[in-house]
């Protein structure tokens, strides 16, 4: 970071405190044992998901999928399908109403054909959409469709696809070669040649990562109902308001106020499905059919079809690193070729820039397209960054005979500066200064028994014949406060309870409970009196769970709304109240100033004389009845000379940015202060190549815990998913036919309760996050960082590096020279 940049950053913060208004005391924020607001619904089976929606007269729609990895439809005969009893409509690719590209989802809203004619991967939804009285009849209808396919040559392998003369995977979009020339991403600082010249040791290695996917428990689906000219839509999406934005462009333009979106609970897809470029294609086709047959239509994928979208860590990566004998890394140069990225290609050397003192860094990411499904951020887009930092730290340590923990500590820093420089910046910005990585590794080392159990690579055979290994990895925390958010909040009449509203997809992180905790503490209400209604259209954009912003963005917005509502209540409490046609009423707290009052447990009281009190319920009064706060028509008003000119109970949607956006620091100059460190103990069977994960220790400096269950759940849940991704999960295609082989939960192995040993979750609260109260995000990171951790752990066990991920038994045996 240059002096100018630093100056700019300091100016952008409007004072030197990271959080200008921290609370002095916390009541429910950070308290253990806060009951989840969604707990009973989810435990009792009452929670409704989009797939559960049943409407009177509802029909079911299924898509035809391509049996070939690359093919176009020459002709199609749907007559038999149309005649099948129970079939109500077969929509075809050549339907006049389907000839335009439409805005159908994606990371940014993409325009694509709703029902394409050409398939670029086996299993792609193309050609026809059959709608029938039941899902089974729709399936049968698809089987009766006769298609004349023209098969095209295809390519599946990342490296083969780059060769000159390779079959073109998508000649319509990339007519010259399979490389996506728009997709080159470069990043770095310093001069890597200089850095390599300074090095005592230079290492070069390559790693590959296969396709893994989200395997979300709820199938992709959606429901459309026309209520006359009004559209009612149920979306299985984590970005409902962005869906509404897309929907408003359809059919020549639908007014936003004529679209009702419902976003029920989500059988999670961890970001994945919601980022897919065609994910509203089903909803579009359902809308077209619903209009024609005048009945609601639900479309669904089957289980296998959900497997075609994958996570964007797939690819091949080449790394060159230079280091001094003491472990100081002098240069890192990386080239990655990533597969089918359906969002702008992302950097792969970012964590060296954001996270280390390494002066010379260069990263180049290129994108290649093969005949497999699209890849999107699943849990997070920063997978390759995590693998790179993990492998560089551990390979340097091994090559120099050092402890990888020491290598991490030696290189910790930011933007090419060391940790002392970073600590000065923390102080300058008003953060409490903690050496976050050091705290995390000390706790993690103690929990895993690092110093006692650590041994040279390949040196410890256990009595059971297996090889014992320990691994370590690290990176920064996810304080990605990207995006903006609006939250509404009001006090209900009659009982003075509080409703927070804002439509957002629930990914299961327990964020809604955390928002209620924030609102309760800020308002001075009881936790049980606050509810977040998040499933229905609120008419504004509430930040989605994307980019770990549940708290770092929506937390700000909730806090802001709660503080404004509280202020309004107190100001109203001292003002002359409702003037009705019959009479007017004196203030609830005559002669007092708002600052002299407080609210606790839903009671407004005078600080100097707590006996002078009134419950919020009494203060806002009953609905429909005349009373101190009511006009004859039941509207809350606060008129009068000294009164306020707005109703007290309603807070308009608050527009609030995440801190970095607010301060302009999201792009360019953001310093990462909080760290995470993870440790893993494995046993590897040298005969079978099987890796048993005995224990995982996750240590996250989350800044400040708002909701313990939420933070810990994301940490251990992420660790379990991470072990799956790093160890067993890979979507496999038959190289000869291009057909996916394991699109089901029997053959695509996600972890069971027995597959991951003990998971110990440790949270550190340094207060150094950019979110409200010093929080950072935690939804994306552990699941993204942990897969790479298996590599050093297995290396420590068997004494040799396994090149490819996931680290399956066949790859272990290959590394051991046994296969």
């Amino acid at each position: 970071m240059t002096g100018d940049e630093k100056q700019r950053m300091l100016e952008l913060f409007d004072n030197k405190r990271a959080d200008k208004y921290p609370r002095e005391t916390y009541d429910v924020i950070g308290k253990r044992g806060v009951r989840r607001t969604d707990g009973y619904e989810k435990a009792s089976g009452a929670a409704k998901y989009t797939v559960d929606v049943q409407l009177p007269g509802m029909l079911y729609g299924r898509f035809l999928t391509s049996p070939h990895p690359h093919a176009e439809i020459v002709s199609m005969d749907t007559s038999a399908a149309e005649k099948l009893p129970g079939v109500r409509c077969v929509l075809r690719y050549d339907d006049p109403e389907l000839q335009n590209e439409e805005s159908l989802g994606g990371h940014e809203l993409n325009s694509v054909m709703p029902l394409p004619r050409v398939a670029y991967f086996q299993g792609e939804e193309v050609g026809a959409f059959a709608v029938a009285d039941s899902e089974a009849i729709a399936e049968d209808a698809l089987r009766l469709i006769k298609v004349e396919w023209k098969q095209r040559p295809f390519v599946l392998d990342v490296e083969k696809a780059q060769e000159p003369g390779a079959p073109l995977s998508n000649p319509e979009n990339n007519p010259e070669s399979n490389m996506d020339t728009r997709g080159i991403y470069m990043e770095g600082h310093g001069d890597v040649a200089k850095g390599f010249a300074e090095a005592d040791k230079i290492l070069e290695f390559k790693y590959t990562f296969g396709l893994n996917t989200w395997a979300g428990p709820e199938r992709p689906c959606g429901v459309w109902r026309w209520n006359g000219e009004f559209a009612e839509v149920w979306v299985k999406q984590q970005r409902p308001h962005i869906c509404k934005r897309a929907i408003s462009t359809w059919f020549g333009g639908l007014a936003m106020n004529k679209i009702d979106v419902h976003c029920l609970y989500q059988g999670a897809s961890f970001g994945g499905w919601s980022q897919m470029a065609w994910n509203l294609g089903g909803t579009y086709c359902a809308a077209v059919v619903a209009k024609r047959v005048n009945r609601p239509v639900k479309w669904l994928f089957n289980r296998r079809e959900d497997f075609y979208g994958s996570n964007m860590d797939a690819g091949v990566f080449y790394i060159k690193v230079g280091a001094k004998l003491d472990g100081t890394i002098t240069a890192v140069e990386e080239r990655g070729v990533v597969v089918n990225q359906a969002m702008p290609v992302f950097g792969i050397a970012k964590h060296f820039l954001e996270n280390t003192r390494v002066h010379h860094v260069h990263g180049r990411t290129e994108a290649v397209w093969v005949n497999k499904g699209p890849t999107v951020p699943t849990r997070c887009e920063q997978n390759s960054n995590c693998y790179s930092l993990d492998l560089v730290t551990n390979r340097v340590a091994e090559a120099l005979g050092l402890d990888p923990v020491e290598v991490a500590l030696k290189n910790d820093g930011a933007e090419g500066h060391d940790i002392d420089w970073l600590n000065e910046r923390k102080a300058e910005l008003g953060f409490p200064v903690t050496d976050s990585l050091r705290v995390c590794v000390e706790k993690g080392k103690a929990a895993i028994g690092w110093d006692e159990k650590r041994h040279p690579a390949g040196a410890k055979k256990l009595p059971n014949g297996k090889m014992h290994g320990l691994g370590f990895t690290w990176t920064h925390e996810w304080d990605d406060s990207a995006g903006t958010s609006e939250i509404g909040m009001y006090v209900e009449r009659n009982d003075g309870t509080v409703t927070i509203f804002g439509c957002r997809g629930d990914g299961g992180q327990n964020a809604e409970t955390a928002y209620c905790q924030i609102a309760a503490d800020e308002l001075g209400f009881r936790m049980e009196d606050v509810r977040f209604k998040h499933q229905d259209d609120a008419g504004f954009f509430t930040m989605t769970p994307d980019t770990s912003t549940n708290l770092s963005v929506n937390g700000w917005a909730t806090r802001h709304a709660a503080r404004m509502l509280r202020q309004k209540l107190l100001e109203a409490a001292i003002a002359p109240r409702g003037v009705t046609q019959l009479t007017s009423f004196p203030p609830a707290f005559p002669g007092k100033r708002a600052e002299e009052l407080d609210i606790k447990d839903g009671v407004i009281f005078e600080k100097a004389n707590p006996a002078n009190r009134m419950t919020v319920a009494d203060f806002v009064g009953p609905s429909g009845a005349q009373g101190p706060l009511m006009s004859p028509v039941g509207e809350p008003i606060l008129a009068g000379k000294e009164g306020l000119d707005y109703p007290i109970r309603f807070t308009p949607p608050m527009f609030e940015h995440g801190w970095q956006v607010q301060r302009g620091t999201y792009l360019g100059v953001r310093l990462r202060f909080c760290r995470q460190a993870h440790f893993m103990e494995v046993e590897v069977d040298p005969e079978t190549g099987e890796v048993d994960v005995i224990k995982v220790v996750t240590v996250n400096d989350v800044g400040k815990v708002i909701n313990w269950d939420g933070c810990e759940g994301q940490a251990y849940g992420g660790a379990i998913m991470g072990v799956g991704r790093g160890r067993t999960e890979e979507v496999v295609y038959d190289q000869r036919t291009g057909i996916m082989l394991n699109g089901n939960l029997l053959n695509y192995k996600i972890p069971t309760l027995m597959d991951v040993g003990e998971v110990e979750t440790i949270l550190v609260e340094s207060g150094m996050g950019y979110g409200p109260y010093g929080t950072v995000g935690i939804g994306e990171d552990v699941a993204t960082v942990v897969p790479a951790l298996i590599s050093p752990a297995v290396h420590n066990a068997i004494g040799t590096w396994v090149e490819g991920f996931p680290i399956t038994p066949d790859r272990v045996l290959k590394a051991l020279g046994k296969a």
Partner: protein
């Protein structure tokens, strides 16, 4: 597949079955290829029973049939006539301590798998009111959770077992 096969499939007549679900008797007309899961969800509106894998690999669709946990996606409804079935809705309605324990220990994230876990755990506690950690793991290993909630379930099941012990001092299974 040709039209003849499809039509033959469609013309097979529906059959009446009797099911007792969560203590209520139902007479239902079902097609021979319908699964029990389909009937619970679509005919009885009991959508708490979930489908994740649809092929016997995940436990999300678990119900208790005549006292034993079964995978309702793998059962044909016509084979279930005369059976007594308990779903998550019935377990919740009976205020089984598992429900509160599941909330307290935050056993759910997205929650889609949660009902299947609750039902499997209920069946375990019915036959073994005092399960060890290993017994819990063995009973629950067939239930998949993509969100990785596993560690929480063990604590919740142990807690529910402890509550049951207090409410049923003989240690016997509750009806």
């Amino acid at each position: 597949m040709n039209m003849a096969i499809v039509e033959e499939k469609r013309t097979v007549s529906e059959q009446a079955i009797d099911l007792e679900v969560n203590g209520e008797a139902h007479r239902l007309s079902v097609q021979p290829q319908w699964t029990l899961l389909h009937v619970l969800q679509e005919k009885l509106g009991l959508t708490g029973t979930k489908e994740f894998c649809g092929e016997g690999a995940c436990g999300a669709c678990t119900v208790i049939m005549d006292g034993r946990p079964v995978l309702s996606c793998m059962m044909l409804a016509i084979e279930c006539s005369g059976k007594t079935i308990e779903t998550v809705e019935g377990i919740a309605k009976a205020n089984h301590p598992l429900i509160e324990a599941y909330i307290k220990h935050s056993c759910m994230q997205c929650g889609f798998c949660t009902p299947g876990f609750v039902v499997t755990a209920k069946a375990l506690l019915d036959r073994n009111p005092n399960p060890t950690v290993d017994e819990i793991k063995e009973a629950m290993v067939g239930n998949l959770c993509r969100c990785g909630t596993y560690p929480a379930h063990i604590k919740a099941i142990q807690e529910a077992a402890a509550v049951l012990k207090v409410t049923a001092p003989t240690g016997g299974a509750r009806p």
